[in-house]
Symmetry: C2
Subunit: 139 residues, 2 copies
DNA sequence: ATACATCATTTGTATATACAAATATATTCA
DNA sequence: TGAATATATTTGTATATACAAATGATGTAT
C-alpha cells in the first residue's frame, strides 16, 4: 500500500498552500498580493539586472500567473519599471525601482515574522534532509 | 544563517503548488477543477455520511474556497446532493451521488497516473521521515 | 528580399476567488 | 419569553486567474 506516499505528499501539499496563504494574509495590509510579492522577490534575485516577463514567469510558484498584468499593478504603484529590451524589442526589461526595493525590505521583514517561530523547529541536518527528500520525490 | 530553512521551505511550497497544478491539469479533460475534485474526495472520506459546508471547508487545501459555489457546480452536474440537515436547518447535508462516486473513481485513477512515477522514488522509511519532518516544521 | 513559422508579450473574456454583507436558524441569558 | 449574540450558508461584487486569440518582433528558408 502507498499509504505512506500519500500521507507524505498530502503533508507537502497542504503545508505548501498553508505557507503561501499565511504569507498572503500577512501582506494584505500592504496592498500587495502574494504573486506580486513573488515578482518583487524574483526581481531582487536577479541582482539588479532586469528580467523579462518569461523569465519571471518561469520562476513563479503559481502556474500560469499572468505576469504581464501583475507587472501592470506593480508599475502603477511605482514599485517596478518596465521598458523595452534594447537587444530584442519583443522582450521587456522589468526591474525594481528604489521604492520597490524599499517596500520589498518591509515585506520581507513581515514575512520573516511569519517564519520566525518555525525557523528553529528543525535542526540544520533535518532541514537538509527535508530538502533532499522532496527533491528526490520530485525526481 | 537560515539558508537551510528557506531552502527547505521553498521546496515544500513549490512542490505543493506543482502537484496541485499538475493534478488540476490532469482533471481538466473531465471538466472538473482541482477544488471540485477536492470536495468529492472529502465527501468520499466522510464514509458515505453527509458533510456540511463548514466541515468540507475546513478540510479544503485552499483557504477561503467558496464551498457553497463549488457545491453548486457539483450539484448542477449531479455529482453531489445537497439537502437541509434534519437536526439543524442552518446546515446542509452534502453527499456524493452514485454518479459522483463513479466519476471520483475515474478521477482518482487519473490522479494515480500522475503520482505513479513518484510513488517508489522514496523508501517507506524516507516517506515516514518526510512526513515527520514537515509535521515538526509546522509545529 | 519576402513569405512563413516562431517567439515574447499583451489583451479579451469567461470563470474563479476573496472578502464583506445579507439571510436565516439556533443559542443564550436577563 | 424575547432581545441580543452566535452560527451556517448564501449572495454581491470587485479583483484575479486561466486559456485562447491577437499583436508585433525576430529568425529562417527559398
Amino acid at each position: 500500500m502507498s499509504i505512506h506516499y500519500f500521507g507524505a505528499v498530502n503533508q507537502v501539499i497542504t503545508t505548501g498552500h498553508w505557507i503561501t496563504d499565511q504569507v498572503s494574509l500577512g501582506l494584505k495590509s500592504f496592498g500587495i498580493s502574494e504573486p506580486q510579492y513573488n515578482v518583487l522577490r524574483i526581481l531582487k534575485g536577479g541582482k539588479s539586472k532586469p528580467l523579462d516577463i518569461g523569465s519571471i514567469q518561469m520562476k513563479m510558484i503559481q502556474r500560469n500567473s499572468n505576469v504581464s498584468r501583475i507587472v501592470d499593478k506593480l508599475v502603477d504603484k511605482d514599485l517596478v519599471e518596465r521598458k523595452e529590451c534594447s537587444d530584442n524589442r519583443r522582450k521587456m526589461d522589468v526591474s525594481l525601482t528604489q521604492k520597490g526595493l524599499d517596500l520589498l525590505d518591509e515585506l520581507n521583514s513581515r514575512v520573516q515574522e511569519f517564519h520566525e517561530p518555525m525557523i528553529h523547529r528543525l535542526t540544520k541536518e533535518e532541514l537538509i534532509s527535508l530538502q533532499r527528500l522532496i527533491k528526490k520525490l520530485k525526481g
